[in-house]
């Protein structure tokens, strides 16, 4: 069970009212993974978004058509949000998430979040803006990776 108290420890849920936190905690599920576990694969249908609570997660992307070669885009640490493609059309993960250590995370099903948004526009605006920040961070990390490719050649 995920309590509102667990959520308030993370900046992503800062500033929400008790009622809002309760709504969010109701649709939250705890998930645990071992080191090396693949949480989701690039191009899979994105069912869920995650908040990392403990451990590190590598976001890797395929660098060739066969899917054999990978590049590390970024390593996520506690407090980071990932799997945000569950909220963004076309709802396909843009990278694979591999556990770099034992991992504790909170999972939110995309359908549950979208349902909650229908009922509470203010909450959904706050959360969606924060999700945008996470996506923007990912874009920045990917750009840095791309620049390092150019500079290396």
């Amino acid at each position: 069970m995920v309590t509102p108290e667990i959520l308030t420890a993370f900046p992503f849920f800062a500033g929400l009212s008790e009622t809002e936190l309760r709504s969010v905690s109701i649709i939250a599920n705890k998930a645990s993974f071992q080191r090396g576990d693949l949480m989701f694969r690039e191009d899979d249908i994105a069912h869920a978004l995650y908040l990392l609570i403990d451990g590190w997660v590598d976001i890797v992307v395929n660098t060739d058509a066969t899917g054999e070669q990978h590049e590390l885009v970024t390593t996520l640490s506690p407090g980071d949000i990932f799997g945000w493609s569950a909220l963004v059309d076309p709802y396909l993960y843009t990278g694979s998430a591999v556990c770099a250590s034992p991992v504790e995370a909170i999972e939110f099903k995309g359908a549950d979040l979208l349902g909650m948004f229908e009922l509470d526009p203010k909450l959904c605006c706050v959360i969606m803006r924060r999700v945008c920040q996470s996506i923007a961070d990912r874009l920045h990390a990917t750009r840095l990776q791309m620049v390092s490719l150019f500079v290396a050649h």
């Binding site: 843009t94 526009p121 605006c125 969606m128 803006r129 945008c132 750009r143």
Partner: protein
């Protein structure tokens, strides 16, 4: 101010009520620029979100030019010579400068026109005010911004792959 009809036709604004379009049009101005015009530099406080009507612009990182010998003394007084690495290009119907709407509201890259361009510039501060007043609208626009960022991510992946294949 621009006419709502001007922006309504672009796919980015699909799915918005006419009221929303009118609100957006009120905080927008049409701007024409020459080629090689710099809209903004990376880490500038970003004032506008742009929609391209005509022309093309490049989203670039300015990195130290390693092909040119640089004196440390010059670098210390801000004379660092940089070259542009193009991350993506935007054309008619594309929106850029959305990072002005997301904290910390600074540009995440530089944007320079490749050709003469006509753009619509939406005032960032006024946009944020509109979204604070109308949460549903704010949510819809955040969703659209998310999609734009996601598309940029995918564009770059394709460019990186092409580059690696060389």
């Amino acid at each position: 101010m621009v006419s709502p009809e001007l922006i309504r036709r672009y796919p980015f604004f699909a799915g918005l009520d006419y009221d929303h379009i009118v609100k957006l049009a009120k905080v927008a101005d049409e701007v024409s620029v020459e080629a090689d015009h710099c809209f903004f530099h990376e880490s500038d406080a970003l004032e506008n979100v742009y929609l391209v009507l005509e022309g093309a612009a490049a989203i670039v990182f300015e990195v130290p030019d390693q092909d040119v010998e640089q004196q440390i003394s010059e670098q210390l007084i801000g004379g660092l010579k940089t070259k542009d690495i193009t991350l993506s290009t935007v054309g008619t119907g594309d929106v850029f400068g959305w990072s002005g709407l997301i904290p910390p509201n600074t540009a995440t890259a530089s944007a320079k026109s490749i050709t003469p361009c006509r753009v619509v510039a939406f005032n960032g501060k006024k946009l944020l005010q509109i979204f604070d007043e109308d949460c549903r609208f704010g949510y819809l626009m955040a969703l659209k911004a998310a999609q734009v960022i996601r598309e940029r991510l995918r564009d770059m992946r394709i460019e990186s792959l092409a580059h690696l294949a060389e």
